[in-house]
Amino acid sequence: MMRPVPPSDPQALRRHQARYLLASRSALVAGVFTLLVAALLALNFAQRQSTDPLEHPELAALKVRLAAEPRSSALKTQIRQLDQELRAEYFRYQSRAHAGAWLLLGGAVVFLVSIFGMTTLHPSAPQPLRGLERDARQWSEPRRARWAVGLLGAAVIGGLALIAVLVSAPALPDSSDAAAGAVAASGQASPEAPIDETAIARNWPRFRGPDGSGRAADGGIPATWDVSSGENVLWKSPIPLPGVGSPIVWENLVVVTGAEKDQRAVYGLDAATGKLLWTGRGERIAESPAEAPEVMEDTGFAAPTPATDGQRVYAIFANGDLIAFTLKGQRVWARALGMPANGYGHAASLLVWKDLLLVPWDQSENGRLFALDAATGKTVWEEPREVHCSWTTPVVAKLAGGDALITAAAPKVIAYGLPKGEETWSVEGLEGELGSSPVWDGQHVFAVGTDSNLLAIEPGAHGSARVAWKTDKDLPDITSPLSDGERLWLLTTQGRVTCLAAKDGTEFYGQELDASFFASPTLVGERVLLISASGKAFWLASGAEYRLLGTAEFGEKVHASPALAGGRLFVRGERHLFCIAPRGGPKP
């Protein structure tokens, strides 16, 4: 095609150039638009491939359950709501796909027309080729063409490979018994990588963080947020089933549990977006108790916090059902420990030490401490517990003689050597049914006997321990203590916060807060975070003087303790999981 020679008339030349400019900019805009629409369509397609709303396993599972409980109106309501949501999602996908296709076509047409216009209106006039240049182009043009075809082919293959990878990794796993059986039958999970201590330290793999002490780096967590406007709320995601267990975090995965009388689930969410990545069902476990346990309303059926070792996620529920999932939500193993014998429902949380899953099981009779093979769920050892019923979660203390598991239940604090579980030392002096978990700050073990004393225990070098000091004032009954090594904070359910010297118990201050608390206090850098049962967060300075830095509201009840990792604060409310982080994401 012959290109027109630019007009020599200056006015006509300006018009010519304006038309060329218009064509080139139109081509640019249309090209970007077309690429954007294509990307959105690909994303839409990938999402549809990963979760087919019309074949949703949760709906099928609910219908199976309804067959077993045909009179459950709650189940029917749940099925109807889910069915409506899934159908709406399906037709939204269809609508997006159709609209996107037309937009793509329109964008492509405008792009091609603009390119054609650009080519036609190109201002440079064609020049005859000189002999040598023509000869050179005879060789270079085919070479360029080969390269272009090769590169285009590589791009197409790469793009197809990317799409194949995207669409072949379903976000919703197969949580069926068949899949579970396949993994469990093999007796092992995927090849175990050694547990990375630094990864544990930067994550929040259990109740109250890496070492169970409730301490985290500041990470730039904002002190204020507004749930209604979204200010400093990175995301807020509904959690289908209720629970008061705290969230745990491993890299980009946040896990919470939820349960009702007759259903149990583990939810894996994207830490960056709050998107529900998978739901691991907790039903259909062999020898699971036929009846639901009696629990307190505030405790519920999903009070224990799950745990992870970066290989698997472990969860236990009020009926003693214990279950392990991969980080992608595939069931690995499950076992029923039996109906717990305690009046409030099982609430002690899990923890992992190296390749052992440690399960505290303090009951009114036949209490035990289980150490299970984390990969298979088989019992490695179990220790009988001659203690009262408790809801405390142990911590691992790095003592001079090696790692020890510190447990607290009336009447004593007991240290078990790891990995074998032999009792190393014990200290008596606790009374009552304990709910407040022990903490280890590197020098002292602090354990609270609700009806007696707080014991500050100093472990010795040779398997011994002594009570360094104790107090019976302002003792918490549900929340756990917090220590930064210098100061110790106690928070009662009724809202009194007390700050003591960690070394000798000298009181720095005691302050009444007009709120009640179930969530344990958390140290966030130089700030102490307290979250009330009504969902109000109090930020205190971590100094020896009481100083309220600010407050913020979640707008719903909060019973669970927070989790912090990657510069984000995760708080589980009555209905939602909240992620608090500065606008634009966490600071590096």
Partner: protein
């Protein structure tokens, strides 16, 4: 052009004597006869030409495998469920509408078989109910057809809807159909429906 004009042969009209009136009438009559002959031949050819063939499902061969919903190049599929009302029993417990062993005979989602809620159940008179397909919602999954065929009288069946079908040269559903139920049918008789007075 000037040279060409100069060397062009002279037309007969440019001579002095033109054709006679009789010649003119004879040639006109001949031309009209050829035109009439050509028109008649074209008309007959158009009337006797074979109509094009298009794809359709033989409902008596269909095994309700569900591939019509997943293999059509269109999304949702051009295959829809149609209902032969004259065959329908208007049952209260319709096995095309209800899940096997339903929780209750009502329109609750827990009871419905159709994944998109495309079947509308309407009370007629005790104990009869009418079941009508909402075509815009139907995805051609054949779950209702399977229920109707297995336990009812098969009044619900699948058909390719030709207001939607692209009539691909090689129908991708026909390639995947395990029962060979896809057939080529004349375009002027595009449906293979059950019953005599059924409406698609």
């Amino acid at each position: 052009m000037a040279d060409a004009h100069q060397h062009a042969p002279e037309s007969p009209a440019s001579g002095g004597a033109g054709p006679s009136r009789r010649d003119f009438l004879r040639q006109s009559l001949r031309g009209a006869a050829f035109l009439a002959l050509g028109g008649a031949a074209g008309f007959l050819a158009s009337r006797t030409a074979r109509a094009g063939n298009i794809w359709q499902i033989d409902p008596y061969l269909c095994v309700q495998c569900g591939k019509c919903a997943t293999h059509c190049v269109l999304n949702p599929s051009a295959v829809k469920c149609v209902h032969a009302y004259e065959m329908c029993g208007y049952c209260e417990l319709c096995t095309a509408f209800f899940e096997p062993d339903p929780n209750g005979l009502n329109t609750g989602a827990e009871n419905q078989l159709c994944p998109t809620g495309a079947i509308v159940r309407t009370f007629v008179e005790d104990p009869y109910f009418e079941y009508r397909i909402t075509e815009d919602l139907c995805i051609g999954c054949a779950k209702c057809v399977k229920g109707c065929t297995a336990f009812g009288n098969g009044s619900m069946h699948l058909q390719v809807r030709h207001d939607r079908c692209l009539n691909c040269n090689e129908c991708s559903i026909a390639v995947a159909c395990p029962a060979g139920a896809f057939k080529r049918v004349p375009a002027n008789r595009p449906y293979l429906m059950k019953g005599k007075r059924s409406e698609p």
